[in-house]
């Protein structure tokens, strides 16, 4: 026992070093776990509120751009209002529409922190469980997809950006309906890659990529980007496709969180099938 204490006191410096290192690495490993309660992320109270104050200042620099975008979206939405359609039906025919059931609900959120320069990029939004946000909800902007909610606290949530090395998002080439997976290779914040596009397709530069119906997180048909370049890999039947993302991750300020009302039903059914 005495020897042990002597050993500890003599080597306390190295032991302290090793235990601090061990603890840090533990935190890193834990951080890599998708879906997990974290204390030390930017959705906690201290850093969250500092970021809110800070983005209160920096928001002013982007006001012009934000205004333009909101105006654009207003126009788009106004075009879909009932007032902008003329009634041509006979007043005697009343149709009760039960064919449409709402599946997606959107929630507006402000981006209070954002990164694009790492391998694993995250955003922090100013909505949380108090506003009904849960993990694994999709986040989109008026330009395209943004990411998936990973952690939720009372009033903030932390979003795994599309610009994350482990992000996998089911997408679809609009022209052909060909399904694929979107990956981010970590090069820059404007480009991403697609997996396993068969080489018999006649791809063209500028083909639109949208989210596929295979995803239970994003609604089908949300803009993702356009094909920028593609090349056939020698000796392989697949294309190597690089696409330009339609979202400008450096300029995000307001985004929408997508709540899929039927997601639980779908995933529980899928899980039940897998158990067989």
């Amino acid at each position: 026992m005495r020897n042990l204490i002597l050993f500890l006191t003599r080597n306390y410096y190295v032991i302290l070093f090793l235990s601090l290192e061990f603890f840090s690495v533990l935190l890193i490993v834990q951080n890599n776990h998708f879906q997990r309660a974290h204390i030390l992320n930017s959705s906690n109270v201290i850093s969250g509120s500092i970021y809110v104050a800070y983005s209160g200042i920096t928001d002013y620099f982007g006001l012009k751009e934000t205004n333009r975008k909101l105006a654009d979206q207003n126009v788009l939405l106004r075009n879909q209002l009932r007032q902008s359609f003329t009634y041509q039906t006979n007043s005697s025919v009343a149709v009760k529409d039960s064919a449409h059931k709402q599946q997606y609900i959107y929630l507006t959120a402000k981006v209070v922190n954002n990164s694009t320069n790492r391998r694993k990029n995250y955003l922090t939004l100013n909505v949380g469980s108090n506003q009904g946000v849960k993990t694994e909800m999709g986040v989109i902007s008026s330009d395209g997809i943004v990411g998936i909610v990973r952690d939720v606290s009372g009033n903030f949530c932390s979003v795994m950006s599309v610009l994350h090395e482990s992000s996998r998002i089911p997408v679809n080439i609009k022209k052909f309906g060909e399904n694929s997976i979107l990956l981010w290779s970590g090069e820059d914040e404007w480009h991403a890659k697609m997996e396993r596009i068969p080489s018999h397709l006649q791809l063209a530069k500028g083909d639109t990529i949208i989210t596929s119906s295979y995803s239970s997180i994003f609604p089908e048909g949300v803009q993702v980007g356009t094909i920028e370049s593609f090349e056939k890999i020698a000796g392989n039947t697949f294309y190597n496709v690089t696409l330009k993302l339609s979202t400008d991750f450096n300029k995000l300020s307001y985004v929408n969180v997508v709540n899929n009302l039927m997601k639980e039903e779908q995933t529980s059914l899928e899980k039940a099938t897998q158990h067989d």
């Binding site: 601090l20 840090s24 951080n31 030390l40 850093s47 790492r118 391998r119 932390s158």
Partner: protein, 170 residues
């Protein structure tokens, strides 16, 4: 002494906020990310006990991690750098050693000494940081390139801050 503690606490707070709110948003080409917060560990006085240097470095790293969602990445590299601070100081010590009242600054030890002191430690820190972030050696040279460029960027900032914020009389 009290004055010295207060000054270090202020420096700590300033560097964390500066790192989180300004430097984390700087990037050029995805290669250059400056991490000026290591200046705090570099500037700790010589008479700081070894264990305290480790604990302070850990606190610093965790604070930066909290703002950048990186788990314990910065904590791990800051602690590693703090661990090697003493050996590096010994390695480049001047002929008559260090005086306890002295501080590791350009004014007291000259440009060359400070350059090797800051240069070695910043490189170690960035090396650990970027390779832990990448977590594999498959893109060894591209990561190494990032390490070198970012180290140079951080060093430049450290030198600028030295000339701006140091009082020549101490």
């Amino acid at each position: 002494m009290i004055n010295e503690v207060a000054r270090n606490i202020l420096r700590f707070l300033f560097l964390v906020l500066f790192q989180a709110l300004i430097l984390n948003h700087i990037e050029l080409n995805g290669y250059l990310n400056p991490f000026l917060y290591v200046l705090f560990i570099l500037m700790l006085p010589f008479q700081t006990p070894d264990w305290l240097v480790l604990v302070l470095a850990f606190t610093m790293g965790i604070s930066v991690d909290m703002f950048s969602d990186t788990g314990g990445l910065h904590a791990a590299s800051a602690v590693f750098m703090a661990f090697l601070r003493q050996p590096v100081l010994k390695l480049i010590s001047p002929r008559d050693g260090y005086d306890v009242v002295q501080k590791p600054t350009i004014q007291q030890f000259g440009l060359g000494w400070f350059f090797s002191y800051a240069g070695i430690l910043v490189f170690i820190h960035h090396f650990v940081l970027f390779f832990m972030e990448a977590f594999h050696f498959t893109e060894f040279f591209s990561t190494l390139f990032r390490v070198i460029l970012s180290s140079l960027f951080t060093l430049t900032l450290i030198f600028i801050s030295q000339f701006f914020f140091s009082n020549s009389k101490s």
